[in-house]
Symmetry: D3
């Protein structure tokens, strides 16, 4: 497929432009020429030396990630930036990035994928971020308790979930903001949810969860954010493009 076609299709599907003003990440084609073709896409959560090297190793011509290299642009191309960009340039591997558009996508996104794992129905967007959303909420078929949720997450995401079980014993209505989502503890409480599932912790989350009586599940940043790029991989496969998923957990 022509590279330009590939990029346009993804941008359309993910509504990349709608997130341009609220996301520090330069989403869409972030590094590379618009010309050329895409035959083989490597998928990864993070763009970094290890995943870039592996993408080259696997002979990909495009690396599609959730966390790219440019956050608020590049001041200059030196140090860490240069080290990461050099192999992309030398092997002509394009870098396609989708950060918040992929967090918020209600079908292909990270939260949507995690909601599947938890078997949530009656879904709606959750997690306002300016005029957009970056997560999903839904209702469990049967009531969980906190241990159920943690056990399920540990097993399905291959992670060790930290539980702040300050909320109700019976968990039905769950909000999901993958990655770094603890800033939405109050929003979850205001929305009447029983639990918030997210990735990495921050100190203030503990007392906010405790004081607002909310169950918060910290299942790991990496572990909660593999769904989106893998869903995009399945989409690319449908378009006739070969894909390969590079699993590189960070333990964070």
């Amino acid at each position: 497929m022509r590279r330009q076609t590939f990029v346009s299709r993804l941008d359309d599907r993910l509504r990349t432009d709608d997130y341009a003003d609220v996301d520090a990440s330069a989403n869409g084609l972030q590094v590379g020429r618009a010309e050329g073709t895409v035959e083989r896409v490597a998928l990864a959560v993070d763009a970094a030396e290890a995943t870039i090297a592996e993408a080259i190793e696997r002979d990909a011509d495009c690396l599609l990630v959730h966390h790219g290299l440019a956050w608020g642009g590049f001041d200059r191309l030196t140090g860490l930036h240069y080290d990461r960009i050099e192999p992309l340039v030398e092997h002509d591997v394009a870098l396609y990035v989708s950060h918040l558009p992929l967090d918020g996508h209600q079908e292909l996104g990270n939260a949507a994928g995690l909601a599947d794992v938890l078997g949530l129905g009656s879904r709606e967007p959750f997690g306002e971020y300016g005029p957009e959303y970056v997560g999903t909420r839904g209702t469990a078929e049967d009531t969980y308790d906190a241990d159920d949720v943690a056990t399920l997450l540990d097993k399905e995401l291959n992670t060790e979930t930290q539980v702040l079980d300050f909320g109700p014993n019976e968990i039905e209505d769950v909000g999901i903001i993958t990655g770094s989502g603890v800033d939405w503890v109050e929003a979850a409480a205001d929305a009447g949810l029983d639990a918030l599932v997210t990735g990495e912790g921050k100190q203030k989350a503990y007392h906010e969860a405790r004081d607002r009586g909310m169950n918060v599940f910290l299942a790991g940043h990496y572990a909660t954010e593999t769904f989106g790029v893998r869903a995009l991989g399945r989409l690319a496969e449908e378009w006739g493009i070969e894909t390969t998923y590079i699993d590189h957990p960070t333990g964070i």
Copy 2:
């Protein structure tokens, strides 16, 4: 001691005013009247319902914390804010806060206290934050390896340290930014340090540490930030004020 005297002495010693433009935290006296006296100070890392209740329980007339309630001020006094402020007002407990001034203090601060634990000499300020610093660097007497550091931290801080051991095997020059300090991985590398010791992790820290070849120790936000308030407690004792430390680990 008159409350006003107590507040002024702390503000002078911690250079509260110098951090006014760079810290979102409203440092100094954050809640309460300037009038009255201070007889008994409770010390805690976080101001929240649990620690406030405990301070009242222990009959304190002032609660001195690292993490206060106002970050960029209070929009209004409702929800979580109201719940936390109400008991302070009802029991006339003043809230004194010192966030970045306490992180950066080279003698009384969190990083300084942690540097004592690691036995670092030849210390200098580390971690530029606008015109100020928020951490400390120093040199170990004997060379550590990564396991040594982790073991020492686990024991002395009663924590479980996560190690990103991508740096040199022999660790001598160590930078410390307690709490949420992973944004200084590159600065640590540029400064030629062998390791960065900090509190809580962020996803991007993993690959930055890996790509810049830096040892990063994530010893926990709470665990790394008890030093400052306890040092202020010792100071207050010297001034003839009774103190009591409220230990409430968050596991984060």
Copy 3:
């Protein structure tokens, strides 16, 4: 009535959210818990020690004012802020505030109430403030002269109106911006009005009125702004809530 219901009804009726970006005042519930009930509302123009004390004296559980305590939020809760908030917290009196939403409301608002006093018909919003309005204009049934207007205002508002009678002798079309509205002298002239009625004066108003040939009536800030809260009081009475108006003129 549940406190939350009371707050929501007022916010809806006054379109509180629509003014959020243009008003420095934190409108809506400004201090207090959302939980609990509202049985007895005290109404006042200003929230300050005297009116708060009187509201407690009259056993109100909610104080509803035009001028609240938070303008651009509270940096911290000390000094004047603490002195005013303490009695609210100690007696669990909620503070509900409506500043510009109440100025601009074309039915319940301050300008609307003053337009009733002046017997104005054919009313329209007046006084653009960003995308909203903060006043009202209308046409008198019979032509006034400047003395008529001043006499009427003095009598009905129990005030001493200062007159800048630089406009036409015959006054028919009148703009009203209560409180501090002299910044709209030019707008009144551009709109072809014969007079502007407002509250307190500013030095520059004199020459603007003189040079643009406009009649300006300075009837006092307090005196022109009792209408809105009293109209909300009547509304609350309709909802079955007891109300009491605290009259505390400032002479300004």
Copy 4:
């Protein structure tokens, strides 16, 4: 005197440049050519049609005022701006403006002149405004009560002073911010003053004065601000320039 010399001397003496970043007023030569001479200066508090016409009538070649025409510049020259500028241009009358530099000048300024009237000694700058001051404080030789102050102001300034006598009965330490200075009520209280003398009132001043226990004297904007331009007039006379003071009270 050459116009350029006149302008430079005033700018130097008043430190016009130091106020450039904090004052919305375009201070210094605001309208007119730098070329030409100054033989006869008209002095007035406000630049407006009446004072400009009078300056022309009195054959002045320069009008020196406290309140000029440009506040944050002129968007365009139409309406009120055009009407005021036209006669200046047609009669080649230069407009020199000194707003905050004249308020804050500790010798020639408005507050300094008013401090003379009140017989204050031990003077210091008062009223921080960014890095500058806009007023003066001092100590009365003999103690005043509130009536004394009001009577003195009424007589010497030919005004009707409104008194908010919420402060101590004995008034010794007085802060002065002429014109619109009620925003400094809290600063006056924090500085331990017994009274604040200023010009025009604002609604919020009443309750701030009441709640902080401060005597506030509202002696009128115009009445408190004639001192500065008259002092500059005396200075100009010393330089051999004829001057004429245009008295045009606004009653505000």
Copy 5:
């Protein structure tokens, strides 16, 4: 025609208000009273001493220009500003300005007029500028080569066109941004155009044109911007107003 009518008609036709947020030029009536009449309009590209003097010489009561005097307003009226405004005021000549609204107007604008010269059909707006456009694109009936375009421009615009002929030999699709339009070289390339015609050059245009393979014609700022005001002159003639075009080329 009443001056107010003249101004309103032009503002409506040119959509002056729509450009208010994106244009530093104060468009519409920039200097003068709204009152009075317009009998005789002088048209010029620039408002400056020479064209203002000539307008007065030709007895115009309004000068209509593309480049006015106020860019981001006037800080004060001194120096160059005073020298230019003085004759306008003394002879009561109104100044009407239309900068970007006239660049972007698809019928009366500068680019539209230049597109007529080049015989372009299938026109569409070109040159995004915030939410508006400042140029036009179209397709030539017959294919040009670079020399053809330059020769045509030189002859019709009485100029000396500088050619950066880095684009295709056959030129069909042409973008036009008059005046200072070299910032749109990349946009022209992205839009698949064969050439960009603009006015004055900037250093960076050379290499951008070279590296993106774009033909760029620098036909002069003045030479490309006479169309708009002349079109407005024809419009004014239709309204029964006398007009006179002041030709004052700058050679830039």
Copy 6:
């Protein structure tokens, strides 16, 4: 020489850091690793495909330019940016940039070099740009007329100078701002200079020069800006580094 040493020496000499807040250009090492050595430096005015290709052709390991690639950083690395950066990365050529620091350097800078050509003595910094300067002024030994200056510039800079000879016939005091310096016409007049020499023209320069009576020489952007990089080349030669100047005039 080690690359890091080379970069540090230039940064020190040019005071790169002092211009960081005022220059949109990312000065200093803009693209490339800090590691490695510098043996052979190519010098050019502009970084673009042609000069980069030529630097590679001449086997340089560093390209030192006045106009770099990053202005306000890179949003992303695509299009023109990618095309220019790719060859730098593939051939490991570092890009060192010095924009305003080189314009303003009073010894090595562009204006300084041009002042040598004009034989100016009694030099001082000219052209305020925030807290820094971007040009030079000086006095000619013998008086020039406008033709003398133009002839000299044409010959020495191999250019065609456009002259706006609206200033005095005898030219002694000359200001120089190379490149795009016409914004300083008024500053030149205020400073009492007889002429301003700069590079490229802008439409507004014509009338500003005419109305302020200033001689302005437009000698071309490229032609006036070769001095700085060539001076840096001589410096590098002194440090034992081979250099080669890539001459690529733009005609602008």
